[in-house]
């Protein structure tokens, strides 16, 4: 049980290292659908206003904000572009 929990945490950390939600501010109209749909109440819209990736300790990288944004502002990008293998 405990082992399973650790594994879950590890995979969460791995996904955080491998990917992050990145906004394209030029597409954003600050409607707030991303923040509205975030299950852990991160104000994703604020990141989009500032043009900053969602580097938030609570981000689950669940992709809900990416999927719900009506204007394709958010993408889930790999962060290990320079170190990752070319697949």
């Amino acid at each position: 049980m405990l082992k399973h929990l650790f594994q879950k945490e590890l995979s969460h950390r791995t996904s955080l290292v491998q990917g992050q939600v990145v906004p394209d501010s030029t597409r954003c109209v600050q409607c707030g659908i991303c923040s509205f749909n975030c299950p852990v109440e991160i104000d994703v819209r604020r990141h989009a206003w500032r043009g900053e990736p969602v580097q938030h300790s609570r981000c689950l990288t669940c992709g809900e904000c990416v999927a719900r944004c009506p204007r394709g502002v958010l993408t889930f990008e790999r962060t290990n572009l320079f170190t990752g293998s070319e697949k």
Binding site: G19, T26, V29, Q30, C31, R71, T75, E77
Partner: protein, 443 residues
């Protein structure tokens, strides 16, 4: 200490106030607006109508954001601007002096001028208060008639349909948005709308709104038919709110004329956003750019100049993102309108593999329809429409904006049945990698 006055509470005003505060910690900022809701996402009203968003989420600024600005808000309308006295007169007759003034009054919906427009149940979508009134009237099972071309009319139709209202959408043209979309794109949208339960009437017009006891009961069409309806909503375009500027002797045409520094022809008076008609060095003309992101950027540039930090506004290549009948759609550069023999248009639908490219960034997926159209010039891609999957949207924005030379793939793109998206994706990957290498070498 410099006193900055800003008329308007939209994104251009907020963009300007942020830039001023960033450049001048001591200056006094006054923001004057009559909208009781102050700053909110006007484009977000479309999603408020569909029910995807609660009203309280329309407000991007929180208490701490306002505190950071240290601006004084005046809930008032401006009666007139007095450039000689460097003051604005409010509706209360109070005068507010300024050293630098920004006019960011935005644009308003053009009023329809047909009989019956004053009836109860006639709606437009200008402000949050309009959206509230419309929703209060949009009861399930009612019938609505929507008219107008372009994006806002569609948002009204989709918002009402999402609320269980039976919607009839009447348009003058033979298909949806013909000056931007090609025939197939229009048909794609129309088919999706039909599935949302929206009935379309082409090449028709409403000549009268019919009423009984002061309420809408139907409309009369130009072809003589009458349609029954409980409510009527329209969006036939917007007009910049230039009255104040005109009365103050500021040069205006369709909007307020500004130079690249967002400066009007009057000393210390600037303008930004939907009301500003901005000088575009590329075409040598003054143009209106009634979109959210340019308004914010214009506000920012105006704010910097007002605070004494010279900055020029670079008008970006035409770029708009919207959602049409559930399809995210990006429109980049020159895509429609008149025929140009130097332009070759090619389009592809869903029969390609590019959306499964393993190395592509993961964007929205799951669209039923995906379509890509490119307008190809002699050496460059001059315009593009990306519908559905948006993976290629950002690369295309850069390719069009930066006039990236595509000579090496031009012939391949124009070959019969060429997989244009695959070719583009491969070209972009190489181009992008090269740019990263060049940047690394420079550093």
């Amino acid at each position: 200490m410099t006193h900055y006055a800003i008329i308007g509470t939209g994104v251009a005003a907020i963009g300007a106030a942020e830039a001023i505060r960033g450049a001048d910690n001591a200056g006094e900022i006054s923001i004057i607006g009559e909208d009781p809701f102050s700053y909110y996402s006007r484009p977000g009203l479309a999603y408020y109508l569909t029910g995807e968003l609660d009203e309280n989420l329309l407000f991007p600024y929180q208490k701490e954001d306002y505190q950071k600005l240290r601006a004084r808000f005046h809930r008032a309308s401006v009666r007139r601007i007095l450039p000689d006295e460097k003051a604005v007169e409010l509706d209360s007759s109070a005068r507010l002096p300024y050293d630098r003034l920004l006019i960011a009054t935005g644009a308003q919906a053009i009023a329809l001028k047909i009989p019956g427009v004053g009836l109860n149940g006639v709606h437009k979508l200008d402000h949050l208060s309009d959206a509230r009134t419309l929703l209060a009237n949009a009861k399930r099972g009612r019938t609505a008639l929507v008219t107008g071309g372009g994006i806002t009319a569609l948002e009204l139709a989709e918002g009402l349909a999402a609320r269980g209202v039976k919607v009839y959408y009447v348009m003058r043209s033979e298909r949806y948005w013909p000056n931007v979309l090609d025939e197939i794109e229009s048909r794609i949208i129309e088919n999706l709308l039909a599935r949302e339960g929206i009935h379309l009437y082409h090449k028709n017009e409403i000549i009268e709104i019919l009423g009984k006891n002061g309420k809408v009961v139907g409309v009369r069409l130009a072809d003589g038919r009458n349609l029954r309806a409980d409510l009527f909503a329209y969006a036939i375009g917007i007009a910049p709110r230039i009255d104040l500027a005109q009365e103050a002797g500021i040069t205006c045409e369709r909007g307020i004329w500004v130079d690249e520094f967002m400066h009007t022809n009057q000393p210390d008076i600037f303008s930004a956003g939907d009301v500003a008609q901005v000088y575009d060095p590329a075409s040598g003309k003054h143009v209106l750019d009634s979109l959210w992101a340019p308004a914010r950027e214009q506000g920012r540039v105006a704010g910097l100049n007002m605070a004494g930090q010279p900055a020029a506004y670079q008008k970006p290549a035409a770029f708009n993102v919207t959602r049409l009948a559930g399809l995210t759609t990006t429109i980049i550069g020159a895509v429609g309108g008149g025929r140009d023999d130097d332009l070759e248009g090619i389009a592809r639908g869903d029969s390609e593999t590019w959306r499964q490219l393993p190395d592509a960034i993961v964007a929205q997926g799951g669209f039923e329809v995906n379509r890509l159209r490119l307008m190809i010039g002699k050496q460059h891609i001059l315009g593009a429409i990306v519908m559905g999957d948006q993976k290629l949207s950002s690369p295309l924005q850069t390719i069009v904006r930066d006039h990236v030379d595509i000579s090496s793939i031009r012939a391949a793109l124009l070959a019969r049945n060429a997989p244009i998206a695959d070719i583009l994706a491969e070209f972009w990957a190489k181009h992008h990698r090269l740019q990263i290498l060049q940047t690394l070498e420079k550093n």
